[in-house]
């Protein structure tokens, strides 16, 4: 019996050690570094300080924060508006194409978003596909400046992140008991009321799960504004990137990351609260 625990101990030890070092310890390092004094020659100066966090509230960074929130929020909203009907239609579909449709939805989830962002550049550039198409249709007469605008960043973000909204929503709506809709209709609720009072509240955990998967990357996918927005669009991700790789202010970069993680924590708690009275469904 005693020797038989070896396998169990071995597997628990290996995963605990790995995650302990490369996840837990690494995350704690970020937290620690965010309270240290910056030093351009070293990783940081071994002096406790809150100055990194107070710097964050100075005007420049506050603007980036708000702009990031604004763009990520708008992106999340667009994803909900576009993705909800999509997930709803797909979840209620019963055709034999469903497996294929699902696969087509999962593919963007796993394939390179860099390549898809790059493809977007080709679509949006001044002499790109979209402009040519619109001119051809006679809707516009001169090419629009799309690339290197906030609109382009937004399109790129929605394009990349929409599947991350649809999948959790789909998972949620798929499990939805159709009899509830029938019961609501049977009890005299109209279509609108059935949706707002029954379907929407029950799919809230799905919406929140999707929002977490969209909102956070929307603030941090630095290569999307980099490729589509030029230097003008500065998101939180670009800010962190700059602190680490350009200005070499790691403690400040850490502080921004910690703040970002705190935002994530708040969203997770919201998700947990909204799904707690339902059976513990998986996140994805």
């Amino acid at each position: 019996m005693k020797g038989d625990n070896n396998f169990r101990n071995f597997s628990v030890a290996i995963i605990s050690t790995w995650l302990g070092i490369f996840a837990l310890f690494a995350f704690l390092l970020v937290l620690f570094a965010s309270f240290m004094q910056p030093d351009s020659n070293k990783i940081f100066n071994f002096h406790f300080t809150l100055s990194n966090y107070t710097t964050l509230f100075s005007s420049l960074y506050v603007i980036v924060f708000f702009k990031s929130f604004y763009i990520a929020g708008a992106c999340t909203l667009f994803c909900i508006l576009l993705g909800y009907p999509f997930a709803y239609i797909l979840a209620r579909k019963t055709s034999r194409w469903k497996d294929l449709l699902l696969l087509l939805l999962i593919i963007p989830f796993w394939t390179s978003s860099l390549i898809r962002s790059y493809a977007m550049v080709a679509i949006l550039k001044t002499k790109g596909v979209l402009n040519n198409f619109l001119i051809h249709l006679g809707i516009i007469h001169h090419p629009l400046q799309l690339l290197f605008t906030n609109t382009a960043v937004m399109i790129g973000l929605v394009y990349n992140l929409l599947p991350f909204m649809i999948l959790p929503l789909y998972a949620n709506l798929e499990k939805f008991d159709n009899r509830l809709i029938e019961a609501a209709r049977d009890l005299g609720a109209g279509k609108v009321r059935t949706f707002t009072k029954v379907i929407l509240p029950l799919s809230l955990p799905g919406i929140l799960a999707g929002s977490i998967l969209v909102f956070l990357p929307a603030m941090t996918l630095f290569y999307i504004p980099d490729l589509l927005g030029g230097a003008k669009a500065l998101l939180l991700g670009n800010l962190i990137e700059n602190q680490f790789l350009l200005t070499h202010n790691w403690p400040l970069g850490s502080a921004i990351s910690v703040t970002l993680t705190a935002v994530m924590g708040i969203m997770l708690v919201a998700h947990w609260l909204s799904s707690k009275n339902r059976s513990g469904e998986d996140f994805l």
Binding site: I15, F86, L114, A122, L162, N178, W250
Partner: protein, 259 residues
């Protein structure tokens, strides 16, 4: 339940969104065969860009590096992730809740935070950035995906199967090799394939933990893409996309077939 017929407007909506997902990629692939450097107008079919792509030794080296990292990271992450999923499902041990929590957090944490946390870790440990830092980072971000894939499969299995094996005298290692792994094989293979595509495509984390001595393909693509649209890059992106697409389709087939 009556079978719901898809209304035309619903079908059109689905089609438009799928078009939005796939049209840019399709355009990219089509233009990778266009016999013109910059024009959008079709100048005839050519495979020139692929030829120049395949004769670029720098690209080959980057691709080889990515392949090595991808294979190694996928293998190790799958081993560790499978052990983790099996332990989490079968055993009671101290810190199980914490372990579960860490895997969950690894999944939802923005990649950039993971990237800089690993950069900090490697710097503190005085580890040079290059092959090893990349490999360790890639294994780390792949592990949770294996855990989720394998765990969802094992949790659908009858717990009594393991007890029956134990009851009949099988040791834990025997149970793992003779019962658990054969039954989980589709999920394990699908885990390997997904890890490989994740590793092969990753930009966010590699960006922070790679060094100048060891260039990998996604970062090469990124630095080329920053300079604008080029037909060779179209070709490169097409090849990479198709390759990962095949792996994803294969892995999905494996997980779906038996469930």
């Amino acid at each position: 339940m009556k079978k719901s017929q898809t209304r035309p407007i619903d079908a059109i909506y689905l089609a438009l969104i799928y078009l939005f997902f796939y049209l840019p990629i399709a355009v990219l692939i089509v233009y990778s065969f266009n016999n013109s450097s910059y024009s959008l107008v079709w100048h005839g079919f050519t495979t020139n860009w692929y030829h120049s792509l395949f004769s670029d030794s720098g690209l080959w080296i980057a691709a080889l590096h990515s392949l090595i990292i991808g294979v190694l990271a996928a293998t190790f992450a799958t081993i560790i992730g499978t052990l983790a999923a099996v332990s989490l499902y079968r055993y009671r041990f101290m810190g199980k809740g914490l372990l579960n929590g860490m895997i969950f957090i690894l999944i939802v944490t923005p990649d950039i935070v993971m990237g800089i946390s690993l950069l900090l870790l490697f710097s503190i440990l005085n580890m040079p950035l290059g092959f090893w830092s990349l490999l360790l980072a890639h294994i780390t971000f792949c592990i949770p995906f294996v855990v989720v894939t394998v765990y969802s499969r094992i949790s659908g299995m009858d717990k009594n199967i393991f007890e029956a094996a134990k009851d009949l005298g099988a040791r834990e290692l025997t149970i793992f090799t003779k019962i658990t792994v054969p039954l989980l094989l589709p999920a394990i293979i699908s885990g390997i394939l997904l890890c490989f595509t994740l590793s092969f495509d990753d930009v966010m984390i590699s960006y922070f933990v790679s060094g100048p001595g060891f260039e990998i393909l996604p970062l090469k693509i990124y630095s080329m893409a920053r300079l604008g649209v080029k037909p060779e890059l179209n070709a490169l992106c097409s090849v990479t996309f198709i390759l990962t697409l095949l792996l994803v389709v294969l892995s999905q087939k494996l997980t779906r077939k038996e469930s």
